[in-house]
């Protein structure tokens, strides 16, 4: 169970293989990759900068991972989140969950993304043809999180 915050890109195939081959009880691995789109809220995005709160970020992600581990039967999990300058098609985040059966892996992976989106201290600033702008938080992300709290 690991979290990493890094400037460098990550290799999903290598991460997936390392996790799935580590444990003969793993029957299901679910991965989520978030990547930069060239369009957001109707404007072209040429680049973005991801700022974070260094001493809080890993603690926040570890907390999210620990919550998922309490709720579901997870064999292993990983969160990798990038910071710094990113361009369209660049990978931003990887969430990987391995479990004996698929239901736990799907639920835990989506849960972690919903909490990461609303609790982990990252902020995106986009560059667009009309200038820079901070990305606004979305109500849909709060709604996605609240599903897990009912």
């Amino acid at each position: 169970m690991t979290v990493r915050v890094q400037i460098d890109d990550f290799d999903v195939g290598a991460e997936l293989n390392a996790m799935r081959l580590s444990n003969l009880n793993i029957g299901a691995v679910v991965s989520f990759i978030g990547q930069v789109r060239d369009l957001n809220d109707g404007e072209n995005v040429t680049a973005m900068n991801l700022e974070h709160y260094p001493s809080m970020t890993e603690k926040s992600l570890e907390g999210i991972l620990a919550q998922a581990k309490k709720r579901w039967a997870i064999e292993d999990a990983l969160i990798v989140h990038r910071v710094g300058e990113l361009k369209p098609l660049d990978q931003i985040v990887l969430v990987l969950v391995a479990s004996a059966h698929r239901k736990d892996a799907f639920a835990a992976c989506e849960f972690m993304m919903d909490f990461l989106k609303t609790e982990a201290p990252f902020w995106k600033k986009e560059q667009t043809p009309s200038g820079e702008r901070w990305v606004e938080a979305k109500d849909s992300d709060d709604q996605a999180k609240s599903r897990w709290q009912q």
Partner: protein, 84 residues
């Protein structure tokens, strides 16, 4: 003394990323600290007058307006997060 950190849009608007401050008498919660900061001028008032959603963390844990603040704490203010 407490340490106060500002992130993202707040850091830019205030042109301020971190400060040490004495915790004045009567300032015991996040809500009270926000009221105090709002008195520092227009840019501060705009952010801390309660009309914008400003999140807070104490010692790297998300907290709410009622959470107590005490000497030695690292308090952070920031907009709703947008990672992932």
């Amino acid at each position: 003394m407490i340490t106060v950190l500002y992130f993202a849009r707040l850091k830019e608007s205030l042109n301020y990323s971190t400060e040490e401050m004495e915790l004045p008498e009567g300032i015991n919660t996040i809500a009270q600290l926000k009221v105090l900061l709002a008195k520092r001028g227009e840019a501060w008032a705009n952010l801390f007058n309660g009309k914008q959603t400003i999140r807070a963390a104490i010692n790297h844990t998300l907290v709410n307006n009622e959470t107590p603040v005490k000497n030695g704490d690292e308090v952070a203010f920031f907009p709703p997060v947008t990672g992932g």
